[in-house]
Amino acid sequence: MRSDALAIQAEGLGKSYRIGRGPRATTLAERLVDVVRHPFGHGAGEGFWALRDASFEIARGQAVGIIGRNGAGKSTLLKLLSRITTPTTGWAELRGRVGSLIEVGTGFHPELTGRENVFLNGAILGMRRHEVAQRFDEIVDFAGIERFIDTPVKRYSSGMYMRLAFAVAAHLDAEILVVDEVLAVGDQEFQKKCLGKMGEVAGAGRTVLFVSHALHAVSTLTTRTLVLEAGRIAFDGSTSDGLAFYRALQAEGSGSAHAYRAPAGRSGVHLVDGRVVTSISDGLHRHGDAFALEFTLDVPEPVSQLCFSVHIQDESDRAVNHFWIYGDGPAFRNATGRFNVRIDVPKYRLVMGRYTVTVWVTDRASHTIYEHLSNLCPFEVTMEGLARPDYEWSPEYMVYAEDYTYGVTRA
């Protein structure tokens, strides 16, 4: 690759922090004690490598996601590229004006008015005064707070505050944008607007580095992803492969919790095991694919009106779906033995998010509850790669998205 087509080039970037006895002496007395105890150096403090040997090249106009678990080195890499801190080893070159958003609203002062803060924050982000002035109306319009622009921001609601803060950042005119999870703020409506703006930026040929936990946003905004793990770049490739790699990493850490097995020694009418059959991998389902639930039920004594019911619950514990199996049909009614129950959903159209399964085993005649188990078989639904503008971006926008057609005719 010719070097002038590169926006960012990093070679062996590394950052080590002192750990052990705290970062360093913070009072003169401590320092003096240090010198007496360790006259030949900084003492027993061990180096901890927050980032190690990071080498990569990013082409002009590329949008790259950076993901990784907590402590994997994402923010260190971001801080190095933003020049907030300096590397212990290696170097990097950024060609073009760099705008970095580690946080929105840096330097906002509660006593200053919205207008004053826009100019101050713009300057802090490296904008020239005339640039801010030029975009001022656009910024205020984007934030939607015209009426309060001359009110001190301490009187703003937190939503207004965040909107104004993001609006300034969104109008930063940089060739290379380095963005940390700034989208994790604000209400749904505004988040959507911000993501839209980010997409615009990425589409406008600027180089974007996007660090986020919002995997869906990463998948929408970026084509390439770096996965960091324990301070090293563990993966560098296409975003879809990167997300799969990252999910595998996560699963490794958590063990396979996607299945349920009854504790040993369980007797009476009970659920022996249960699992979800998801379409992409264990515990990961693509919106619209075939989905199934499999259970084994042990019924040692006949129950006249045995009812088996399953709820799918979303992250806020709302039941999204109920599957009821009761009446005269099912073989487990008034019978004994082990039964396999399988529920098939040909096209399961849950909206992206995390879900769990709740199971009830009851007798509708005697109102006996044999089993009530919650938070079983956690699974995640993704909408990656599915472009449908009507349900883009936000997990809480809806819980279910169905295909539909419509007709509009003149009455």
């Binding site: 002038d4 290696g90 990097a92 060609r95 073009g96 100019f119 300057a123 802090i124």
Partner: protein, 275 residues
């Protein structure tokens, strides 16, 4: 886009020239921070901007009472109030630049850890607000002086030179203090005491002529002495400081600014990790 700026990130330090260019590039930030300080200073205070005048007047009044009325310190023939106020204007400028520069980093941790800009901007940006205070104090001084029938003459040319010298001395010490305060919070406690001491070691409440002849050389080792006497000379026509003492102060200011900036840049790279 071959003229795009190239940012190099590495383990070494940027050249001083590069730093200067960057500070120039960020001049709007300097202005924005200066404006912020000015706006915030007297917001939500009852007397507002009047404090700028009331504060030094009160201090001068106390000096006038203690040194002028009780101790009867010689004032080179000037009314004590004017004599003290002239030097206090300069002194307050010096001490406020130094004090606020020294805390400029540790009071803005969110700026230091969240966004990049040449860090020297922070101590530099305390100057505009202090300068505005100084100008208001000088205006008050002029009103009082004129009311007492005192006139000004061409010696006023010494005024900007004195202010420039005091500002440079304050910034030099301020750069070092700001950087050291990130590492050692002791600075916050030591500095006010040092400034208090320096006040009594400088010709503010009294004239340097009052210092015995055999101590004069030692007395003028304090680089603040000459510019403060220069200030009083330009405003009140008191005896001028010796040229060699002034040149010494100029040299001290240059050295102090260079050393302060060097200390600052030496620690600068680890600010975000240590603050």
């Amino acid at each position: 886009m071959s003229d795009a700026p190239v940012v190099r990130i590495g383990a070494g330090s940027a050249s001083p020239l590069h730093t200067l260019r960057e500070i120039w590039h960020y001049r709007d930030l300097f202005q924005a921070l200066g404006t912020r300080d000015l706006r915030l200073r007297y917001r939500q205070t009852f007397l507002g901007i009047a404090w700028v005048v009331v504060q030094p007047l009160l201090a001068a009044g106390i000096f006038a009472f203690v040194f002028g009325t009780i101790a009867r310190v010689p004032t080179d023939g000037q009314p004590y109030m004017l004599f003290a106020l002239a030097a206090l204007a300069g002194w307050n400028f010096f001490s406020s630049v130094l004090t606020r520069a020294s805390t400029s980093l540790i009071q803005n941790p969110q700026l230091v850890t969240r966004v990049y800009f040449p860090r020297l901007i922070l101590p530099l940006a305390v100057v505009p607000a202090a300068l505005v205070d100084l100008l208001i104090t000088l205006a008050a001084f002029a009103v009082i002086a004129l009311a007492q029938g005192h006139g000004f003459d061409a010696r006023l040319v010494g005024l900007p030179a004195a202010i420039l010298l005091l500002g440079a001395l304050a910034l030099g010490a301020g750069f070092a203090a700001a950087a050291l305060a990130v590492r050692y919070r002791d600075v916050q406690y030591v500095l006010p005491v040092a400034i208090q001491l320096a006040l009594y070691a400088s010709p503010v409440a009294y004239s340097s002529a009052a210092v015995p002849a055999r101590w004069q050389a030692l007395y003028y080792a304090n680089p603040l002495a000459a510019p403060l006497e220069l200030l009083r000379w330009s405003l009140l026509g008191t005896p001028a400081p010796a040229v060699q003492d002034l040149l010494y102060s100029v040299g001290a200011a240059v050295v102090l600014v260079l050393i302060g900036a060097a200390v600052f840049r030496g620690i600068e790279r680890s600010f975000a990790d240590e603050i």
